[in-house]
Symmetry: C2
Subunit: 260 residues, 2 copies
């Protein structure tokens, strides 16, 4: 490849772990336009939310693939990986942080629990344009190639346009061949929640334990909602932020005149 | 105590663990106005964010104090505790969920990492008015009594007024005697972030490991910001939400005309 004036630098992380296929396919695609550094969890970290590790130290391992240095594995969460990468491992801040490609969707209330989103959130907190990308299929055999291609395209767009401070993008790509994708929709986070159940079982010692199970219950009707875009075979892009303040409610609460 | 027509029912959780002093003092105070059920983590769960446990089952232990049943300890996160309580352990939904009293503040970007806030967020997701309460001192010997008294007062107010769907309150109480508290401020989440550093050390086997350290760097100047309220010896109440959509950015992104 010919030398460019200044090559884009991208930090990649995820929550499925450094050895997952989703991150490998993403990195291969991004390397055509950027210098990519991978800092990802040693092991699967689904539903860790925006956890960081504060009560024990972190360890970092250099991972090779086919005798070539591939990336850094951290025995922590996705947010740990991005924090450690930007604050310590990388010689300078990357131009972009991309988290994924997650194997499974991250929409509606699930983005609160998502390790994939949290890696991109941490990039945003540290002042770097960031996005999370997920492939919306939980089947065991999936094809990440189109999602990776779209990630590369979006990375180039964001590198040019930037993102406002404090805002990241949460991207969900339907698991379909490229020609069946019906478009891109800018969406809001859905209101759907999980109908959680806990299945009680007994271990061989007759002690009870509980498995969480459930599914996302569709509560949204608007077309510009993340989960609905996917059902319509469209790519969903949701701009999200980590300022959680409900500004309207501030005025209402002031009227309550709460005293110490 | 005389019988009331319908006594308030409150679910209490935290992230410091079921044996922490903060939860004990809170519960003692709330029991003067409500039937309280405690479902809290077995162990300290700081900085777990909104993690839930999906790859292993949960165990529940009945905890006694002075030969009396005190509450349920769960070997999971604060969000696990609230989910399990509401979806399985409690015979009916509580009127309120209160998380705390946390030993240490939860303000600015820290609320993203906070297990205390996540317990109240989970209550809100499940449709119950909820708040998180923290005492803003990290000293080892602290007095939770005034914060508990304020929690009781706020619980009574919320039981009467309710909270809008999808909104919870994040409360921080300065560690001061009651008469030195200068008021209550309705605040927004601050923009301050941590100046994280990783301290690299070597173990006896000469392998490197990294400790996260750092402090919150004050970036806010407005008086109605969580962290500043506390510095002014005031109680901070921030209404927060788990809809992370940046609605303004949706219009901007639509102009980008992103194609698949």
């Amino acid at each position: 490849m010919e030398k460019e004036e200044k090559k884009l630098s991208i930090l990649v992380s995820n929550d499925d772990g450094i050895l997952s296929e989703g991150i490998a396919v993403l990195v291969r695609e991004l390397q055509t336009i950027a210098t990519v550094t991978i800092v990802a969890p040693e092991s699967q970290q689904s539903a860790v939310g925006h956890a960081i590790t504060v009560h024990r130290p972190l360890r970092v391992r250099e991972v090779k693939k086919e005798d070539q240095f591939f990336g850094y594995a951290v025995d922590g969460t996705p947010a740990d990986c991005v924090k450690l990468a930007i604050r310590h491992l990388l010689p300078q801040k990357p131009d972009l942080v991309i988290s994924g490609i997650n194997h499974g969707s991250n929409t509606a209330v699930s983005i609160i629990y998502s390790g994939t989103v949290s890696a991109a959130t941490e990039g945003t907190i540290l002042g770097i344009p960031s996005f999370a990308i997920s492939l919306t299929s939980f089947e065991s055999n999936v094809d990440f190639s189109y999602a990776a291609k779209f990630a590369r395209k979006l990375a180039a767009i964001i590198a040019e346009k930037g993102l406002p401070k404090g805002t990241l993008l949460n991207v969900n790509v339907p698991h379909l061949p490229e020609k069946e994708i019906q478009g891109v929709v800018i969406t809001k986070q859905g209101k759907s929640i999980w109908n959680d159940e806990f299945e009680a079982r007994r271990d061989p010692g007759n002690r009870q334990y509980f498995w969480l199970k459930g599914e996302l219950v569709e509560l949204d009707v608007d077309e510009d909602v993340d989960q609905r875009a996917i059902l319509n075979n469209k790519i969903s892009i949701t701009p999200i932020q980590f300022d959680l303040t409900n500004y309207e409610m501030m005025d209402e609460l002031r009227k309550w005149m709460i005293e110490p």
